[in-house]
Protein backbone atom coordinates (compact mmCIF):
# COMPACT_ATOMS: atom_id res chain seq x y z
CA UNK A 1 0.00 0.00 0.00
CA UNK A 2 1.28 3.45 -0.83
CA UNK A 3 0.49 6.56 1.17
CA UNK A 4 -1.55 8.96 -0.94
CA UNK A 5 -2.38 11.56 1.68
CA UNK A 6 -0.54 12.61 4.79
CA UNK A 7 0.37 15.60 6.93
CA UNK A 8 2.83 17.87 5.13
CA UNK A 9 6.30 17.79 6.70
CA UNK A 10 6.23 21.59 7.00
CA UNK A 11 3.20 21.36 9.29
CA UNK A 12 4.05 20.29 12.83
CA UNK A 13 2.01 17.40 14.21
CA UNK A 14 0.26 19.32 16.96
CA UNK A 15 -3.39 20.14 17.75
CA UNK A 16 -4.32 23.60 16.51
CA UNK A 17 -5.66 26.06 19.08
CA UNK A 18 -8.17 27.58 16.65
CA UNK A 19 -11.92 27.41 17.28
CA UNK A 20 -13.90 24.50 15.84
CA UNK A 21 -14.64 25.09 12.17
CA UNK A 22 -12.04 27.84 11.76
CA UNK A 23 -10.42 27.79 8.32
CA UNK A 24 -6.97 28.84 9.52
CA UNK A 25 -6.19 25.12 9.75
CA UNK A 26 -6.93 24.65 6.04
CA UNK A 27 -4.85 27.69 5.07
CA UNK A 28 -1.94 26.57 7.28
CA UNK A 29 -2.07 23.21 5.56
CA UNK A 30 -2.08 24.77 2.10
CA UNK A 31 0.99 26.86 2.92
CA UNK A 32 2.73 23.80 4.38
CA UNK A 33 1.88 21.69 1.32
CA UNK A 34 3.41 24.36 -0.90
CA UNK A 35 6.58 24.49 1.24
CA UNK A 36 6.82 20.72 0.86
CA UNK A 37 6.12 20.66 -2.87
CA UNK A 38 8.66 23.41 -3.59
CA UNK A 39 11.14 21.77 -1.20
CA UNK A 40 11.76 25.03 0.63
CA UNK A 41 10.92 24.28 4.27
CA UNK A 42 14.61 24.45 5.19
CA UNK A 43 15.21 27.69 3.33
CA UNK A 44 12.09 29.56 4.36
CA UNK A 45 11.51 31.99 7.20
CA UNK A 46 7.90 32.76 8.09
CA UNK A 47 6.64 35.79 9.98
CA UNK A 48 3.73 35.39 12.38
CA UNK A 49 1.64 38.43 13.19
CA UNK A 50 -0.79 39.47 15.92
CA UNK A 51 -4.29 38.08 16.12
CA UNK A 52 -5.52 34.51 16.19
CA UNK A 53 -2.38 33.34 14.36
CA UNK A 54 0.09 35.04 16.73
CA UNK A 55 1.62 31.61 17.46
CA UNK A 56 1.49 30.11 13.98
CA UNK A 57 5.21 29.53 14.63
CA UNK A 58 4.09 26.57 16.70
CA UNK A 59 2.58 24.94 13.61
CA UNK A 60 4.98 25.71 10.77
CA UNK A 61 8.16 23.65 10.73
CA UNK A 62 10.27 26.33 9.03
CA UNK A 63 12.10 29.03 11.00
CA UNK A 64 9.62 31.61 12.26
CA UNK A 65 9.70 35.14 13.63
CA UNK A 66 6.84 36.63 15.60
CA UNK A 67 6.15 40.27 14.69
CA UNK A 68 4.40 43.15 16.45
CA UNK A 69 0.84 44.02 15.39
CA UNK A 70 0.81 45.07 11.76
CA UNK A 71 4.59 45.09 11.38
CA UNK A 72 5.08 41.70 9.73
CA UNK A 73 5.88 43.17 6.28
CA UNK A 74 8.58 45.39 7.82
CA UNK A 75 10.02 42.46 9.78
CA UNK A 76 9.91 40.33 6.63
CA UNK A 77 11.70 43.12 4.75
CA UNK A 78 14.50 43.04 7.32
CA UNK A 79 14.77 39.25 7.09
CA UNK A 80 14.66 39.03 3.29
CA UNK A 81 17.19 41.83 2.83
CA UNK A 82 19.51 39.98 5.21
CA UNK A 83 18.99 36.56 3.64
CA UNK A 84 18.71 37.14 -0.11
CA UNK A 85 18.75 33.43 -0.92
CA UNK A 86 15.87 32.57 1.43
CA UNK A 87 12.13 32.58 0.97
CA UNK A 88 10.18 34.78 3.38
CA UNK A 89 6.43 34.91 3.96
CA UNK A 90 4.09 36.74 6.28
CA UNK A 91 0.83 35.30 7.56
CA UNK A 92 -1.50 38.12 8.56
CA UNK A 93 -5.14 38.71 9.36
CA UNK A 94 -7.33 41.60 8.25
CA UNK A 95 -6.97 43.69 11.40
CA UNK A 96 -3.21 43.23 11.37
CA UNK A 97 -2.73 43.93 7.67
CA UNK A 98 -5.52 46.31 6.70
CA UNK A 99 -5.85 48.44 9.86
CA UNK A 100 -2.78 48.85 12.08
CA UNK A 101 -0.39 47.55 9.44
CA UNK A 102 -1.66 49.44 6.39
CA UNK A 103 1.49 51.50 6.00
CA UNK A 104 3.76 48.47 6.28
CA UNK A 105 1.92 46.36 3.70
CA UNK A 106 1.55 49.22 1.20
CA UNK A 107 5.22 50.14 1.40
CA UNK A 108 6.53 46.58 1.34
CA UNK A 109 4.42 46.10 -1.79
CA UNK A 110 5.49 49.31 -3.49
CA UNK A 111 9.16 48.63 -2.72
CA UNK A 112 8.65 45.32 -4.47
CA UNK A 113 10.02 43.41 -1.49
CA UNK A 114 10.61 39.84 -2.53
CA UNK A 115 8.27 38.44 0.08
CA UNK A 116 4.96 36.60 -0.03
CA UNK A 117 2.01 37.65 2.10
CA UNK A 118 -0.79 35.27 3.03
CA UNK A 119 -3.59 37.64 3.97
CA UNK A 120 -6.47 35.96 5.75
CA UNK A 121 -9.65 38.05 5.50
CA UNK A 122 -12.52 36.91 7.69
CA UNK A 123 -14.13 40.34 7.98
CA UNK A 124 -13.75 40.52 11.76
CA UNK A 125 -11.28 40.68 14.66
CA UNK A 126 -11.23 37.12 15.94
CA UNK A 127 -8.68 37.11 18.76
CA UNK A 128 -10.11 40.10 20.63
CA UNK A 129 -13.66 38.74 20.34
CA UNK A 130 -15.40 39.98 17.28
CA UNK A 131 -14.84 43.68 16.75
CA UNK A 132 -15.29 45.47 13.43
CA UNK A 133 -12.38 44.92 11.04
CA UNK A 134 -11.48 47.21 8.16
CA UNK A 135 -12.93 44.46 5.98
CA UNK A 136 -16.22 44.07 7.89
CA UNK A 137 -19.11 44.24 5.41
CA UNK A 138 -21.77 46.95 5.41
CA UNK A 139 -24.55 45.85 7.71
CA UNK A 140 -22.42 43.20 9.43
CA UNK A 141 -22.97 42.99 13.18
CA UNK A 142 -19.85 42.92 15.35
CA UNK A 143 -19.21 43.74 18.99
CA UNK A 144 -18.25 47.31 17.99
CA UNK A 145 -20.95 47.65 15.32
CA UNK A 146 -23.78 46.18 17.42
CA UNK A 147 -26.41 47.60 15.05
CA UNK A 148 -24.50 46.66 11.92
CA UNK A 149 -21.72 48.48 10.06
CA UNK A 150 -23.06 51.77 8.78
CA UNK A 151 -21.08 53.73 6.18
CA UNK A 152 -21.97 57.08 7.76
CA UNK A 153 -20.60 55.93 11.13
CA UNK A 154 -17.96 53.34 10.28
CA UNK A 155 -16.92 53.96 6.70
CA UNK A 156 -16.53 51.30 4.05
CA UNK A 157 -14.76 47.93 3.90
CA UNK A 158 -11.25 47.98 2.41
CA UNK A 159 -10.51 45.99 -0.74
CA UNK A 160 -6.83 45.14 -0.29
CA UNK A 161 -6.13 43.32 -3.57
CA UNK A 162 -7.67 46.08 -5.64
CA UNK A 163 -5.63 48.69 -3.74
CA UNK A 164 -2.29 46.88 -3.84
CA UNK A 165 -2.60 45.89 -7.49
CA UNK A 166 -2.18 49.57 -8.44
CA UNK A 167 1.42 49.45 -7.17
CA UNK A 168 4.23 48.54 -9.57
CA UNK A 169 6.14 46.63 -6.90
CA UNK A 170 3.25 44.21 -6.31
CA UNK A 171 3.56 41.76 -9.18
CA UNK A 172 1.27 38.93 -8.14
CA UNK A 173 -2.05 39.71 -6.44
CA UNK A 174 -4.82 37.16 -6.17
CA UNK A 175 -7.95 36.70 -4.06
CA UNK A 176 -9.15 33.21 -3.24
CA UNK A 177 -11.57 31.63 -0.78
CA UNK A 178 -11.64 28.42 1.24
CA UNK A 179 -15.42 27.94 1.37
CA UNK A 180 -15.54 24.81 -0.81
CA UNK A 181 -13.24 22.17 -2.24
CA UNK A 182 -13.03 23.77 -5.66
CA UNK A 183 -11.99 27.10 -4.16
CA UNK A 184 -9.54 25.44 -1.76
CA UNK A 185 -7.78 23.88 -4.76
CA UNK A 186 -7.60 27.28 -6.43
CA UNK A 187 -6.28 28.78 -3.20
CA UNK A 188 -3.49 26.22 -3.10
CA UNK A 189 -2.51 26.99 -6.70
CA UNK A 190 -2.45 30.73 -5.96
CA UNK A 191 -0.31 30.29 -2.83
CA UNK A 192 2.12 28.12 -4.77
CA UNK A 193 2.39 30.65 -7.57
CA UNK A 194 2.94 33.48 -5.05
CA UNK A 195 5.94 31.62 -3.62
CA UNK A 196 7.25 30.86 -7.11
CA UNK A 197 7.03 34.54 -8.01
CA UNK A 198 9.16 35.33 -4.97
CA UNK A 199 11.66 32.61 -5.83
CA UNK A 200 11.97 34.04 -9.32
CA UNK A 201 12.84 37.38 -7.70
CA UNK A 202 10.06 39.19 -9.53
CA UNK A 203 8.67 41.29 -6.66
CA UNK A 204 6.01 41.35 -4.00
CA UNK A 205 3.28 38.70 -4.05
CA UNK A 206 0.10 38.47 -2.00
CA UNK A 207 -2.76 36.00 -1.77
CA UNK A 208 -5.88 37.21 0.01
CA UNK A 209 -7.79 34.26 1.40
CA UNK A 210 -11.45 34.82 2.26
CA UNK A 211 -11.94 32.87 5.46
CA UNK A 212 -14.58 32.30 8.11
CA UNK A 213 -14.93 33.01 11.82
CA UNK A 214 -17.86 30.90 13.03
CA UNK A 215 -17.32 31.88 16.68
CA UNK A 216 -17.48 35.64 16.19
CA UNK A 217 -19.92 35.54 13.28
CA UNK A 218 -22.25 33.57 15.57
CA UNK A 219 -22.81 30.88 12.97
CA UNK A 220 -22.18 27.17 12.76
CA UNK A 221 -19.13 26.32 10.62
CA UNK A 222 -21.41 25.06 7.86
CA UNK A 223 -23.57 28.21 7.91
CA UNK A 224 -20.43 30.35 8.06
CA UNK A 225 -19.10 28.77 4.86
CA UNK A 226 -22.43 29.53 3.22
CA UNK A 227 -22.34 33.13 4.52
CA UNK A 228 -18.88 33.61 3.01
CA UNK A 229 -20.10 32.40 -0.38
CA UNK A 230 -23.29 34.44 -0.28
CA UNK A 231 -21.96 37.72 1.13
CA UNK A 232 -18.20 38.12 1.11
CA UNK A 233 -17.45 37.14 -2.48
CA UNK A 234 -19.88 39.75 -3.78
CA UNK A 235 -17.89 42.52 -2.10
CA UNK A 236 -14.51 40.82 -2.53
CA UNK A 237 -14.55 39.26 -6.02
CA UNK A 238 -12.30 36.23 -6.39
CA UNK A 239 -9.67 36.06 -9.06
CA UNK A 240 -6.34 37.34 -10.18
CA UNK A 241 -5.73 41.07 -9.88
CA UNK A 242 -2.19 41.11 -11.13
CA UNK A 243 0.00 38.48 -12.67
CA UNK A 244 3.47 38.11 -14.00
CA UNK A 245 5.12 35.62 -16.30
CA UNK A 246 7.14 32.95 -14.52
CA UNK A 247 10.08 31.23 -16.21
CA UNK A 248 8.22 27.95 -15.70
CA UNK A 249 5.07 29.17 -17.46
CA UNK A 250 4.37 27.40 -20.72
CA UNK A 251 4.34 29.83 -23.63
CA UNK A 252 0.80 30.65 -24.73
CA UNK A 253 -0.23 28.62 -27.78
CA UNK A 254 -0.54 30.62 -30.94
CA UNK A 255 -4.08 30.76 -32.29
Amino acid sequence: MSIVFQRPHALIDKPLHYCPGCTHGIIHRLVAEVLDELGIEGTTVGVASVGCTYNSYEYFNCDMVQAAHGRAPAVATGIRRSLPDRTVFTYQGDGDLAAIGTAEIVHAATRGEKITTIFVNNAIYGMTSGQMAPTTLIGQVTTTTPFGRKPELHGYPVRVCEMLSTLEGAVYVERVAVNNVQNIRKAKAAIKRAFQVQQAGLGFSIVEVLSICPTNWGLSPEKALEWLGENMIEHYPLGNYKNVVLPSDKPASKE
Binding site: G42, D63, M64, R71, A74, T77, G78, R81, S82
Partner: protein, 357 residues
Protein backbone atom coordinates in the same frame (compact mmCIF):
# COMPACT_ATOMS: atom_id res chain seq x y z
CA UNK B 1 49.01 56.16 15.74
CA UNK B 2 46.65 56.01 12.82
CA UNK B 3 45.51 58.86 10.66
CA UNK B 4 43.21 61.47 12.14
CA UNK B 5 40.31 62.58 10.00
CA UNK B 6 38.02 65.57 10.51
CA UNK B 7 34.48 64.22 10.41
CA UNK B 8 30.97 65.05 11.49
CA UNK B 9 29.62 63.00 14.40
CA UNK B 10 26.70 61.55 12.44
CA UNK B 11 29.03 60.36 9.68
CA UNK B 12 31.34 58.80 12.25
CA UNK B 13 28.37 56.85 13.64
CA UNK B 14 27.75 55.38 10.20
CA UNK B 15 31.44 54.68 9.54
CA UNK B 16 31.79 53.04 12.97
CA UNK B 17 28.83 50.78 12.27
CA UNK B 18 30.31 49.74 8.93
CA UNK B 19 33.65 49.00 10.55
CA UNK B 20 31.83 46.95 13.20
CA UNK B 21 30.48 44.77 10.42
CA UNK B 22 27.01 46.25 10.17
CA UNK B 23 25.73 45.76 6.62
CA UNK B 24 22.04 46.39 7.32
CA UNK B 25 20.78 49.86 8.12
CA UNK B 26 17.14 50.94 8.19
CA UNK B 27 16.22 54.56 8.82
CA UNK B 28 13.78 57.39 8.48
CA UNK B 29 14.78 61.04 8.11
CA UNK B 30 14.69 63.26 11.19
CA UNK B 31 16.86 66.20 12.23
CA UNK B 32 19.51 66.25 13.68
CA UNK B 33 20.72 62.74 12.75
CA UNK B 34 19.85 62.34 9.08
CA UNK B 35 23.48 62.42 7.92
CA UNK B 36 23.74 58.86 9.26
CA UNK B 37 21.25 57.83 6.57
CA UNK B 38 23.00 59.90 3.89
CA UNK B 39 26.30 58.19 4.62
CA UNK B 40 24.74 54.74 4.82
CA UNK B 41 22.77 55.17 1.58
CA UNK B 42 25.97 55.88 -0.34
CA UNK B 43 28.23 53.34 1.35
CA UNK B 44 25.78 50.44 1.42
CA UNK B 45 25.17 50.74 -2.29
CA UNK B 46 28.91 50.83 -2.93
CA UNK B 47 29.67 47.75 -0.82
CA UNK B 48 26.51 45.77 -1.52
CA UNK B 49 24.97 46.19 1.93
CA UNK B 50 21.38 46.99 2.76
CA UNK B 51 20.06 50.51 3.13
CA UNK B 52 16.31 50.93 3.33
CA UNK B 53 14.62 54.27 3.79
CA UNK B 54 11.59 52.99 5.64
CA UNK B 55 8.08 54.44 5.51
CA UNK B 56 8.27 55.37 9.20
CA UNK B 57 10.39 54.98 12.31
CA UNK B 58 8.00 52.21 13.30
CA UNK B 59 8.77 50.27 10.14
CA UNK B 60 12.51 50.96 10.41
CA UNK B 61 12.84 49.47 13.90
CA UNK B 62 10.81 46.45 12.79
CA UNK B 63 13.11 45.96 9.81
CA UNK B 64 15.99 45.97 12.29
CA UNK B 65 14.03 43.42 14.34
CA UNK B 66 13.72 41.22 11.25
CA UNK B 67 17.37 41.56 10.25
CA UNK B 68 18.57 40.83 13.79
CA UNK B 69 16.25 37.79 13.86
CA UNK B 70 18.00 36.57 10.73
CA UNK B 71 21.33 36.83 12.57
CA UNK B 72 22.99 39.86 10.98
CA UNK B 73 24.25 43.06 12.62
CA UNK B 74 21.60 45.71 12.09
CA UNK B 75 21.13 49.31 13.15
CA UNK B 76 18.71 52.19 13.01
CA UNK B 77 19.18 55.80 14.01
CA UNK B 78 16.79 58.57 14.89
CA UNK B 79 16.16 61.51 17.15
CA UNK B 80 13.81 61.91 20.09
CA UNK B 81 10.30 62.02 18.49
CA UNK B 82 11.36 59.20 16.16
CA UNK B 83 12.71 57.24 19.10
CA UNK B 84 9.31 57.53 20.81
CA UNK B 85 7.88 55.74 17.77
CA UNK B 86 10.55 53.06 17.90
CA UNK B 87 9.87 52.17 21.52
CA UNK B 88 7.37 49.44 20.64
CA UNK B 89 9.96 47.71 18.48
CA UNK B 90 12.69 48.14 21.08
CA UNK B 91 10.49 46.48 23.70
CA UNK B 92 9.83 43.57 21.31
CA UNK B 93 13.55 43.24 20.57
CA UNK B 94 14.33 43.22 24.28
CA UNK B 95 11.64 40.59 24.88
CA UNK B 96 12.81 38.46 21.96
CA UNK B 97 16.44 38.96 23.11
CA UNK B 98 17.60 40.38 19.80
CA UNK B 99 20.92 42.16 19.41
CA UNK B 100 20.01 45.49 17.87
CA UNK B 101 21.76 48.86 17.87
CA UNK B 102 19.76 52.08 18.09
CA UNK B 103 21.29 55.53 17.79
CA UNK B 104 19.48 58.44 19.44
CA UNK B 105 20.78 61.91 18.62
CA UNK B 106 18.66 63.71 21.16
CA UNK B 107 16.77 66.93 20.45
CA UNK B 108 14.63 69.04 22.73
CA UNK B 109 11.10 67.97 23.60
CA UNK B 110 8.39 67.17 24.54
CA UNK B 111 6.21 66.77 21.48
CA UNK B 112 7.73 67.98 18.27
CA UNK B 113 9.82 70.20 20.56
CA UNK B 114 12.77 71.68 18.72
CA UNK B 115 15.63 70.47 16.59
CA UNK B 116 18.44 71.69 18.85
CA UNK B 117 20.49 69.49 21.20
CA UNK B 118 19.13 68.18 24.49
CA UNK B 119 19.49 65.31 26.93
CA UNK B 120 15.80 64.94 27.73
CA UNK B 121 15.59 61.37 26.36
CA UNK B 122 17.34 60.00 29.45
CA UNK B 123 14.10 58.67 30.92
CA UNK B 124 12.84 57.07 27.71
CA UNK B 125 16.12 55.32 26.97
CA UNK B 126 17.43 54.50 30.43
CA UNK B 127 14.16 53.82 32.24
CA UNK B 128 12.50 51.70 29.61
CA UNK B 129 10.41 53.84 27.29
CA UNK B 130 8.62 50.83 25.89
CA UNK B 131 6.36 48.51 27.85
CA UNK B 132 7.48 45.70 30.12
CA UNK B 133 10.38 44.76 32.40
CA UNK B 134 13.51 45.33 30.38
CA UNK B 135 16.65 47.43 30.12
CA UNK B 136 18.54 48.87 27.19
CA UNK B 137 22.28 49.10 27.53
CA UNK B 138 22.76 52.86 27.05
CA UNK B 139 26.12 54.34 26.03
CA UNK B 140 26.75 58.09 26.20
CA UNK B 141 29.77 59.42 24.29
CA UNK B 142 31.23 62.85 25.01
CA UNK B 143 32.59 63.52 21.54
CA UNK B 144 33.19 62.21 18.09
CA UNK B 145 36.16 59.95 18.93
CA UNK B 146 34.30 58.26 21.74
CA UNK B 147 31.22 58.06 19.51
CA UNK B 148 33.23 55.89 17.15
CA UNK B 149 34.46 53.62 19.91
CA UNK B 150 31.08 53.26 21.60
CA UNK B 151 29.24 52.47 18.36
CA UNK B 152 31.71 49.63 17.72
CA UNK B 153 31.28 48.50 21.33
CA UNK B 154 27.50 48.71 20.96
CA UNK B 155 27.50 45.96 18.34
CA UNK B 156 29.76 43.77 20.46
CA UNK B 157 27.65 44.27 23.59
CA UNK B 158 24.40 43.67 21.69
CA UNK B 159 25.69 40.34 20.38
CA UNK B 160 27.29 39.35 23.69
CA UNK B 161 24.10 39.85 25.71
CA UNK B 162 21.44 39.51 22.98
CA UNK B 163 20.02 42.84 24.06
CA UNK B 164 19.22 46.22 22.51
CA UNK B 165 22.06 48.72 22.86
CA UNK B 166 21.43 52.44 22.54
CA UNK B 167 24.12 54.99 21.78
CA UNK B 168 22.73 58.30 22.98
CA UNK B 169 24.36 61.55 21.94
CA UNK B 170 22.87 65.01 21.77
CA UNK B 171 22.47 67.08 18.62
CA UNK B 172 25.89 68.66 19.12
CA UNK B 173 27.55 65.28 19.00
CA UNK B 174 25.79 64.49 15.74
CA UNK B 175 26.40 67.80 14.04
CA UNK B 176 29.87 68.84 15.15
CA UNK B 177 33.07 67.98 13.34
CA UNK B 178 36.06 66.70 15.30
CA UNK B 179 39.20 64.76 14.63
CA UNK B 180 38.64 61.02 14.78
CA UNK B 181 41.00 58.10 14.53
CA UNK B 182 39.41 54.83 13.47
CA UNK B 183 41.36 52.56 15.79
CA UNK B 184 40.79 49.19 17.45
CA UNK B 185 38.72 47.71 14.66
CA UNK B 186 40.38 44.37 15.31
CA UNK B 187 38.45 43.95 18.55
CA UNK B 188 35.19 43.16 16.78
CA UNK B 189 33.67 40.06 18.28
CA UNK B 190 31.31 37.98 16.15
CA UNK B 191 29.71 35.22 18.18
CA UNK B 192 27.87 32.36 16.51
CA UNK B 193 24.10 32.79 16.43
CA UNK B 194 22.64 29.29 16.48
CA UNK B 195 19.30 30.78 17.58
CA UNK B 196 18.82 32.88 14.42
CA UNK B 197 15.83 32.37 12.13
CA UNK B 198 17.81 32.06 8.92
CA UNK B 199 16.51 28.80 7.44
CA UNK B 200 17.03 25.42 9.10
CA UNK B 201 18.30 23.71 5.93
CA UNK B 202 16.56 20.69 7.53
CA UNK B 203 19.66 20.21 9.68
CA UNK B 204 18.18 21.29 13.00
CA UNK B 205 14.84 21.91 14.73
CA UNK B 206 13.19 25.07 13.48
CA UNK B 207 14.11 28.27 15.29
CA UNK B 208 11.55 30.72 16.59
CA UNK B 209 12.06 34.36 17.51
CA UNK B 210 9.25 35.57 19.73
CA UNK B 211 8.43 37.81 22.67
CA UNK B 212 5.05 36.30 23.53
CA UNK B 213 4.65 33.78 26.33
CA UNK B 214 0.97 33.28 27.11
CA UNK B 215 1.57 30.98 30.10
CA UNK B 216 2.21 33.24 33.14
CA UNK B 217 4.82 30.93 34.63
CA UNK B 218 6.69 30.65 31.37
CA UNK B 219 6.65 34.44 30.90
CA UNK B 220 7.78 34.97 34.48
CA UNK B 221 10.63 32.52 33.96
CA UNK B 222 11.60 34.38 30.78
CA UNK B 223 11.57 37.75 32.56
CA UNK B 224 13.59 36.26 35.42
CA UNK B 225 16.10 34.96 32.91
CA UNK B 226 16.38 38.45 31.41
CA UNK B 227 16.79 39.89 34.89
CA UNK B 228 19.67 37.52 35.62
CA UNK B 229 21.27 38.75 32.40
CA UNK B 230 20.84 42.35 33.56
CA UNK B 231 22.61 41.55 36.83
CA UNK B 232 25.58 40.25 34.88
CA UNK B 233 25.57 43.35 32.70
CA UNK B 234 25.42 45.60 35.78
CA UNK B 235 28.36 43.76 37.26
CA UNK B 236 30.53 43.73 34.15
CA UNK B 237 29.69 46.58 31.87
CA UNK B 238 29.30 49.78 33.83
CA UNK B 239 31.74 52.44 32.65
CA UNK B 240 32.57 55.80 34.10
CA UNK B 241 35.10 58.59 33.67
CA UNK B 242 36.15 59.93 37.08
CA UNK B 243 38.26 63.07 37.18
CA UNK B 244 39.68 65.09 40.05
CA UNK B 245 37.33 63.58 42.65
CA UNK B 246 39.86 62.75 45.42
CA UNK B 247 39.49 65.54 47.96
CA UNK B 248 37.13 67.52 45.74
CA UNK B 249 35.01 70.25 47.35
CA UNK B 250 32.21 69.69 44.87
CA UNK B 251 31.58 66.77 42.54
CA UNK B 252 29.67 67.37 39.33
CA UNK B 253 27.75 64.52 37.70
CA UNK B 254 27.34 65.09 33.97
CA UNK B 255 27.47 63.13 30.71
CA UNK B 256 27.95 63.96 27.06
CA UNK B 257 28.18 67.62 26.15
CA UNK B 258 27.50 68.74 29.74
CA UNK B 259 30.55 66.79 30.91
CA UNK B 260 32.71 68.62 28.38
CA UNK B 261 31.52 71.99 29.63
CA UNK B 262 32.17 70.84 33.19
CA UNK B 263 35.81 70.03 32.39
CA UNK B 264 36.37 73.73 31.78
CA UNK B 265 34.59 74.56 35.03
CA UNK B 266 37.17 72.37 36.83
CA UNK B 267 39.93 74.69 35.56
CA UNK B 268 38.02 77.90 36.35
CA UNK B 269 37.21 76.74 39.87
CA UNK B 270 40.82 75.70 40.54
CA UNK B 271 41.86 79.32 39.96
CA UNK B 272 39.51 80.28 42.78
CA UNK B 273 40.93 77.58 45.05
CA UNK B 274 37.92 75.29 44.70
CA UNK B 275 38.54 71.69 43.76
CA UNK B 276 35.81 70.35 41.47
CA UNK B 277 35.56 66.68 40.57
CA UNK B 278 33.64 65.13 37.68
CA UNK B 279 31.85 61.81 37.53
CA UNK B 280 30.91 61.23 33.91
CA UNK B 281 28.81 58.11 33.36
CA UNK B 282 29.72 56.53 30.01
CA UNK B 283 27.11 53.84 30.50
CA UNK B 284 23.83 55.44 31.60
CA UNK B 285 22.52 51.91 32.04
CA UNK B 286 24.07 50.16 33.80
CA UNK B 287 24.52 53.31 35.86
CA UNK B 288 27.99 53.49 37.46
CA UNK B 289 26.74 53.55 41.06
CA UNK B 290 30.07 52.46 42.51
CA UNK B 291 31.78 55.72 41.56
CA UNK B 292 29.12 57.69 43.42
CA UNK B 293 29.23 55.34 46.41
CA UNK B 294 33.00 55.75 46.62
CA UNK B 295 32.85 59.55 46.83
CA UNK B 296 29.44 59.85 48.49
CA UNK B 297 30.60 61.53 51.69
CA UNK B 298 33.79 63.34 50.71
CA UNK B 299 32.67 66.54 48.91
CA UNK B 300 30.54 69.31 50.42
CA UNK B 301 27.91 68.49 47.89
CA UNK B 302 27.08 67.11 44.46
CA UNK B 303 25.80 68.99 41.44
CA UNK B 304 24.11 67.32 38.50
CA UNK B 305 24.27 69.23 35.23
CA UNK B 306 22.01 68.22 32.36
CA UNK B 307 20.44 69.55 29.20
CA UNK B 308 17.02 68.73 30.62
CA UNK B 309 14.95 69.64 33.65
CA UNK B 310 16.71 66.91 35.63
CA UNK B 311 16.46 63.25 34.67
CA UNK B 312 19.80 61.58 35.43
CA UNK B 313 19.70 63.34 38.81
CA UNK B 314 17.28 60.66 39.99
CA UNK B 315 19.93 57.98 39.46
CA UNK B 316 22.58 60.15 41.12
CA UNK B 317 20.33 60.51 44.18
CA UNK B 318 19.63 56.78 44.26
CA UNK B 319 23.34 56.00 44.02
CA UNK B 320 24.18 58.42 46.85
CA UNK B 321 21.28 57.06 48.89
CA UNK B 322 20.90 60.18 51.03
CA UNK B 323 24.57 60.35 52.03
CA UNK B 324 25.06 63.78 50.49
CA UNK B 325 23.11 66.65 48.95
CA UNK B 326 22.53 66.71 45.21
CA UNK B 327 21.76 69.98 43.51
CA UNK B 328 20.77 70.55 39.93
CA UNK B 329 21.56 72.91 37.14
CA UNK B 330 20.04 72.40 33.73
CA UNK B 331 19.04 74.18 30.56
CA UNK B 332 16.60 72.90 28.03
CA UNK B 333 14.81 73.75 24.81
CA UNK B 334 18.08 73.38 22.89
CA UNK B 335 20.20 75.50 25.23
CA UNK B 336 23.43 74.31 26.80
CA UNK B 337 24.46 75.10 30.39
CA UNK B 338 27.06 77.87 30.25
CA UNK B 339 30.45 77.36 31.88
CA UNK B 340 29.95 80.52 33.95
CA UNK B 341 26.53 79.45 35.22
CA UNK B 342 27.86 76.06 36.33
CA UNK B 343 30.82 77.75 38.01
CA UNK B 344 28.51 80.05 40.00
CA UNK B 345 26.54 77.06 41.18
CA UNK B 346 29.72 75.20 42.14
CA UNK B 347 31.01 78.21 44.13
CA UNK B 348 27.78 78.38 46.12
CA UNK B 349 27.91 74.68 47.00
CA UNK B 350 31.61 74.94 47.93
CA UNK B 351 30.81 77.82 50.27
CA UNK B 352 27.92 75.99 51.84
CA UNK B 353 25.45 78.40 50.29
CA UNK B 354 23.78 75.84 48.05
CA UNK B 355 20.15 74.99 47.76
CA UNK B 356 18.18 74.83 44.58
CA UNK B 357 16.20 77.96 43.77
Amino acid sequence: MGEKILMKGNEVIAEAALRAGCRHYFGYPITPQTEVAHYMARKMEEIGGTFVQAESEVAAINMVYGAASAGVRAMTSSSSPGISLKQEGISYAAGAELPIVVIDIVRAGPGLGGILPAQCDYFQMVKGGGHGDYHNIVLAPQGVQEMYELVVDAFNLADKYRNPVVVMGDGYMGQMMEAVEFRDVEKIERPEKPWAACGSEMKREHNTITSIYIDPDVLEAHVNHMNEKYKVIEQNESRVDVQNCDGADVIVAAYGTCARVTKNVIKDAAKLGIKVGLIRPITLWPFPKQAFEKYATTPRGFLTVEMSMGQMIEDVRLALNGKNTVEFYGRTGGNVPAQKAILEKVIKIARGEGGND
